[in-house]
Amino acid sequence: MPTKEEIFEKIRSALVDALGVDEEDVTPQATLVRDLGAESIDFLDIVFRLEKAFNIKIPRGELFPEDILTDARYVQDGKVTELGLAELRKRMPFANLDEFAKNPSVQDFGTLLTVADMCRFVESKVGVTD
């Protein structure tokens, strides 16, 4: 089982290759979209690199459950409803959604995922040692 540090290093390397950013820009607090400039197609590339680096499978929508954002049951007037937020929390236990929940505008959803969230996601898939 890898350590948290090893997981972070591999994720950093995947993000450097996928996004063309400098290593020092990839901090745990950095958001993928706002700080590292990730676009929608980059998530496909990132998911593949994570699968390869950690020998795991990441089904579509697991890291980034975009299906919720297009589901009329969970979205009203461009905002994610309480039900939608509950579903997001269930599907994304690795992400801190508190800030997003204050003004859950669909168009801001893509900007919330951080490198630390991604680390927690991978940790939940592969397990982690101290």
Binding site: D17, A18, G20, I41, D42, L44, D45, V47, F48, E51, K52, R60
Partner: protein
Amino acid sequence: MRWYWIDRFLEFESGRYARAVKNVSLAEDYLHDHFPSFPIIPNSLVLEGMAQTGGLLVCEYNHFTEKVVLAKVPKAQFYCHVRPGDTLTYFAKIEYVRSEGAMVSATSHKGDILQAEAEIVFAHLNHPSLGSLFEPETFLRMMRLLSAFEIGHAADGSPLRPPPELIKAAEKASPAT
């Protein structure tokens, strides 16, 4: 000018890899502008050749049912010029295919010299407005022109054949195909 940036497939192993050849000729118009008195193939067209080699490989793997569009080039490095009279050999290997898209790694060789290498990500698009960009008879004609069915192999090692649904769709669209 036709948008063919490979001349022929040399190998086509379904779902795995393909090798294609591109002969560079001074008869190609763009070489007289790029650059006057110093004709070299633009790197973007080498990349397009690698993308066509890998893109058709991905299309064939999907039985030509997905709209495969070049979406991203995470890496591209070019090491030397290519001049009229040179022959490039493109090699593309499928790194992954998912429902959302695919990635290939590709190289370009000039003889034994590594001329360029790249990673290329393709997206699978399913918007109805893209229909006219991806007509079955276009795929069929392109694969035949490039000799893919003459030298290719299916995943089980048998000779590569066009998917029956592609032939059917092409015949429906153009009975003379």
